[in-house]
């Protein structure tokens, strides 16, 4: 009996009745630090395409020209709001959530380079890659027709009957070598690595 009275009294408390009938969970608000679709800032786009190259989603971002001004365009429905383009842009053209604040605070950045790799089992040592490379030709105009070179500054040369990569860091990623290789033996890959601190400032 006592417990019944207890329950009745408990459930007749105005406070209880109020919460029972008018309870509402928190309003549907998106906190400001959530990553939304990247938005343009005031900064000027230099059309380096870093944003497009790092984007993991097909068709999510395109750098387009409007009148005389280049700028990135984000497509909802394709973009997955990962925020990589925001981080990768060296100019800070895009912003989303608190990504820019956090990268500035932590001093993080993306560092990218082109990696060259020759599959020796496919390569027939023709030297097309070394000869066609525009950077190679610039550095050593005397480049041999078979890809040999006396210069140590070239990106790659035929040395001892095989392609030797000397200066990967000079590669511009044009992929001319890939196109001119008859055997698809040489591959150019863009590599990206996250760096922090002094490395990021360089």
């Amino acid at each position: 009996m006592r417990s019944i009275i207890y329950y009745v009294r408990e459930f007749l408390r105005p406070e209880w009745l109020k919460t029972f009938f008018f309870a509402r969970t928190a309003p549907l608000e998106t906190p400001s630090y959530f990553k939304g679709y990247p938005a343009r800032t005031e900064k000027e786009c230099t059309r380096c395409l870093s944003c497009m190259m790092i984007c993991p989603a097909p068709g999510a971002i395109a750098v387009l020209r409007k009148k005389d001004q280049w700028g990135p365009e984000i497509y909802p429905g394709h973009c997955i709001r990962c925020g990589l383009c925001v981080e990768a842009c060296p100019e800070g053209v895009l912003s989303s959530g608190r990504i820019l604040d956090v990268t500035r605070r932590d001093g993080t950045a993306f560092w990218s380079w082109y990696h060259l790799q020759v599959d020796d089992s496919l390569c027939m040592r023709c030297g097309n890659c070394c000869v066609s490379c525009p950077v190679n030709r610039e550095i050593d105009p005397q480049l041999g027709a078979t890809g040999t070179s006396s210069s140590d500054e070239v990106i790659m040369r035929i040395e001892g009957g095989r392609v030797t990569i000397l200066h990967e860091e000079k590669c511009t990623g044009c992929k001319t070598c890939e196109i001119n290789c008859p055997n698809r033996a040489i591959r150019v890959a863009r590599m990206v690595e996250g760096v922090q601190g002094e490395e990021a400032e360089a």
């Binding site: 309870a23 969970t25 549907l28 959530f34 989603a57 097909p58 909802p76 429905g77 394709h78 973009c79």
Partner: protein, 152 residues
Amino acid sequence: MRNILQKIKNAVRSRSIHVSYVDVGSCNGCDIEVLACLAPRYDIEQYGIYVHNNPREADVLLVIGSVTPQWVDKLRDIWEKIPEPKVAVAIGNCPISGCVYNRRGTLTTPPVENYIPIAASVPGCPPRPTEILSAILSVAPLIFKDYEENQK
């Protein structure tokens, strides 16, 4: 009198939306966000939305995923089974664009618009529960308002 009745009907309908959802081939990320809507944090039922998986009782169909070939006819079947008035909402990037599955050599055939009429889409990979909720809440009453009158 008729007017008042109609108003009551509209009000009741907008507070009693039955939802069923179907995943036609995705990573399940959006399913999880739909399920998050059911959990206490977002609590879909406080808005008068009830989720169950029977298309014959549903008003709103949430379509998730980038449509694999096996789903094409089944998705149409499900859509046929839903009684009028009905509305389909595409959840996530997959039904809109195919998202990360929209690559060469994948067995998907987005967009879902090609198979059933889509009234609204919620982009995102995955979309937030808040976005899903507000999409259902804004599109459903629009379609159901004065439905019978508009048919005449």
